[in-house]
């Protein structure tokens, strides 16, 4: 075996040496003995590495913004109560440092036996947008953008084709020939956003609310592409909120200020509803178009609507099975 490489050395040597020779003609310094060339390569590599270090130096903000604890933080479902206490304390401290606001982060659990449903009367909704404003404030959205989990479609009467709709109207409401259809997370029973998430950063809770662990999400935005209701939002930058406007009543899985680069969504205000209060959008609605309640409770207003009104869901044909209903009075 050792002979064979030796045999092939003959032609190899002659051809192998041609490259340095031709180099010498082009750039003499490169045709120098090996040590010289090696030194040059090393210098080139060192220079390249230095340039690379300089190029990626903006990344140095990561250690400043992401503590070791946050980097190593486990998935929500793997946290013990003790872990959670530590994490919430850390987050409260970080919010104080970054936003100057005293907040308290809680983690209300689903109430056993409760499944939430939401309904909107298309006869009553007049597109005034108070629900959007309330959502914006309740959920500590970035003040720089006109963000909300709710979008209101202004639709011409006589169609359910969303292509005819308009979400950016700024005239007085209601218009005579229009009706108004607010769309937010439908808390699907078969949520496409949960199916596609590669790291299980989003899931459906026992009370039917689809939530996101903002500290586990990697920001691939696949869920945003998968959602048929445009219900998911991405934090394109760190939210900015004046200290006096920060809502201090915060839930870990709901309205705490989200980190840059992660997904968020409507969570039926679970920090309120799991404690017996109503969603902020419902409280803000001046027309009484919104109905919220426990689908498992026969006495709840949501069940009255489902039994007595003409009810439909959006994009039923996609098989997402929303817990969000529309009806006419």
């Amino acid at each position: 075996m050792s002979n064979e490489p030796a045999n092939s050395d003959g032609p190899t040597n002659s051809s192998g040496k041609q490259t340095p020779d031709s180099d010498q003609n082009l750039l003499p310094i490169l045709g120098q003995p090996t040590s010289r060339r090696t030194a040059l390569k090393a210098a080139g590599a060192a220079l390249g590495l230095a340039a690379f270090g300089k190029a990626v130096s903006p990344l140095m903000v990561i250690p400043e913004n992401v503590s070791v604890d946050e980097f190593l933080q486990r998935h929500y479902k793997e946290l013990t109560d003790e872990d959670k206490q530590k994490i919430f304390t850390r987050m409260e401290k970080e919010t104080k440092e970054s936003y100057g606001a005293e907040v308290s982060i809680s983690d209300p659990q689903p109430i056993p036996g409760v499944r939430y449903g939401y309904a909107i009367s298309l006869s009553k909704c007049n597109g005034n947008g108070k629900c959007m404003e309330a959502c914006h404030e309740e959920n500590n959205h970035h003040r720089g953008v006109d963000q909300s989990y709710i979008r209101i479609l202004e639709m011409p009467k006589g169609t359910m084709d969303m292509e005819q709709g308009n979400t950016t109207y700024d005239h007085t409401v209601p218009q005579d020939d229009k009706f108004y259809m607010p769309v937010q997370c439908q808390q699907c029973d078969n949520p496409p956003c949960v199916t596609v998430c590669p790291v299980e950063a989003t899931w459906k809770e026992d009370d039917g609310i689809v939530v996101v662990d903002y500290n586990w999400c990697i920001g691939c935005r696949y869920c945003e592409a998968a959602c048929p209701y445009h219900a998911r939002r991405f934090n394109w930058e760190q939210p900015e909120i004046p200290a006096e406007e920060v809502n201090p009543d915060q839930g870990y899985l709901s309205n705490r200020i989200r980190p840059q680069g992660t997904m968020e969504k409507c969570h039926f205000c679970l920090h309120r509803t799991r404690e017996g209060r109503l969603p902020a959008c419902l409280e803000a609605c001046p027309t009484g178009a919104r109905v919220f309640g426990d689908l498992n409770d026969p006495e709840s207003p949501i069940n009255y609507v489902l039994q007595n009104k003409r009810v439909f869901v959006l994009k039923e044909e996609l098989g997402t099975q929303p817990s969000f209903f529309y009806f006419f009075d």
Binding site: S2, E4, P5, A6, S8, D9, P11, T12, G16, P20, D23, L26, L30, T34, R37, T38, K41, G48, A51, F52, A55, P58, L59, I62, F71, H75, R151, L153, D161, M162, E163, G165, T167, V183, P192, T195, V196, C197, P198, V199, W216, I218, G219, C220, R221, Y222, A225, A226, C227, Y229, H230, F234, W236, E237, Q238, P259, Q260, G261, T262, K315
Partner: protein
């Protein structure tokens, strides 16, 4: 250490042959970093572009993805478009394997190595394009099975992670093994590579199919929700991959005198001839079903080809792609591509760019326009996105150049009689 870094010492000193695989790689890297002034200039330019890209990405990570022009409405843009296209190039690069191994075409074996090297560089680019698209790249470890939480088998993205990384390993193994054996002047043992080659054929199809499933599995996006998406991906992949290899060989011939034999070249051309027509046929089929039926399902296609409600951003892109594809198809079907190399290279460039637009701006972006609530928000990539993408392309070309140089060095060191390279 010193003896390892000096490439010249290998043939001169038979008492110290490079034996172990790591040393072979080290030797190859040494060879790959030697070259003419043209080579150094090429690598210098690529390094500079890659560094600009790295810097743009670092800025994106620190300031947030607000520096891109993506929005909640168009949440994937240039990065994912390039990713999709490069998956195709990677799959197409390995199509040379089929004639070589399934039909025992010996002359194809050298081309196979080139195809696999192309696949390796393309997959490296794919992985980079995914990483730069992450909002929180430092949390990538959440995707590692065992440490993180891997939503397998439900999420198509986890499937994609598996097939892409598996494909990279497969090709690294096949390429490395064949070159190492060639270097040692030994006959490669079929047991160590033929099974992997067979797997890689199916794997090549799987990477593209699964990447198509990423999109066509989304019921809320009618533009992607078509069963024809995966076959269309494959067809355009088998145009783009071979086209790139033909361009590559033309460059290699002019720069280092490495010629592609006539038979493999003819076979590559024939592959493109068939698939470019099949691809056009499938485009026509989709356009027909979209426009003849009408309704709101047509909105995205309408936006892409004709514009919608006064928004036309993608119309020039897609018609450029259409014209490029049709002209390329015409050229490939004519006998000129076999006779004149310039025509061939021109046709390949047209087909390559045509596929890039079709799979990128022509497929990913219109999937988001209009949005699921039928809002129209247009998208044009920001300067940061162009810089990052150019940087990844430059890095991919660097990987390609280094691997090609390693392979060519091996072939020159150990010219086997049957496939002796002309020099």
């Amino acid at each position: 250490m010193s003896s390892l870094t000096s490439p010249d010492s290998v043939p001169i000193d038979p008492a110290h042959p490079v034996r172990s695989y790591p040393r072979f790689i080290w030797w190859g890297l040494g060879e790959a970093t030697n070259g003419s002034l043209l080579f150094y200039t090429w690598m210098f330019v690529l390094t500079a572009i890659a560094l600009v890209g790295a810097n743009a990405w670092a800025v994106q990570v620190s300031e947030g993805m607000i520096v891109t022009n993506m929005t909640d409405h168009v949440s994937w843009g240039l990065y994912i478009a390039n990713f999709t296209f490069m998956v195709g190039v990677a799959a197409g690069g390995v199509m040379m394997v089929i004639p070589a191994y399934l039909y025992h075409d010996k002359k194809m074996h050298d081309v196979v190595i080139i195809g696999e090297i192309l696949a390796i560089s393309a997959i490296v680019m794919c992985l980079l394009f995914v990483v730069v698209d992450l909002g929180r790249p430092e949390r990538f470890w959440h995707l590692i099975p065992g440490i993180g939480r891997f939503n397998w088998p439900m999420s198509m993205l986890t499937w994609d992670v598996i097939v892409l990384n598996g494909y990279l390993l497969l090709n690294l193994h096949i390429c490395g093994y064949l070159l190492y054996m060639r270097f040692l002047n030994r006959q490669p043992n079929p047991k160590w590579y033929v099974p992997f080659v067979m797997i890689s054929i199916f794997w090549a199809i799987s990477i593209h199919t699964i990447t198509a499933f990423l999109y066509c599995g989304l019921g809320g996006r009618p533009f992607w929700n078509t069963a024809l998406l995966a076959p269309r991906f494959l067809a355009s992949a088998f145009v783009a991959g071979p086209a790139f290899i033909l361009i590559l060989f033309s460059i290699l011939k002019n720069v280092v005198g490495q010629r592609l034999e006539d038979a493999p070249a003819r076979l590559l051309i024939n592959i493109i001839r068939v698939t470019i027509v099949v691809n056009l046929l499938m485009v026509v089929s989709e356009v027909f079903t979209e426009f003849y039926t009408g309704g709101s399902h047509t909105a995205s296609a309408h936006y892409l080809f004709l514009g919608l409600h006064g928004h036309y951003a993608l119309v020039p892109w897609i018609w450029t792609a259409m014209i490029f594809n049709i002209v390329a198809a015409g050229l490939f079907l004519s006998p000129l591509v076999l006779k004149r190399e310039r025509v061939l290279v021109f046709a390949c460039i047209l087909a390559f760019i045509g596929a890039w637009i079709e799979k990128g701006m022509g497929l990913i972006v219109p999937g988001f326009i209009p949005s699921t609530l039928h809002e129209i928000v247009e998208y044009t990539p920001s300067l940061v996105e162009w810089k990052v993408s150019a940087g990844i392309w430059a890095f991919g070309l660097m990987v390609l150049t280094v691997l090609l140089k390693m392979a060519i060095s091996v072939y020159r060191q150990s010219p086997a009689p049957a496939t002796e390279s002309t020099r």
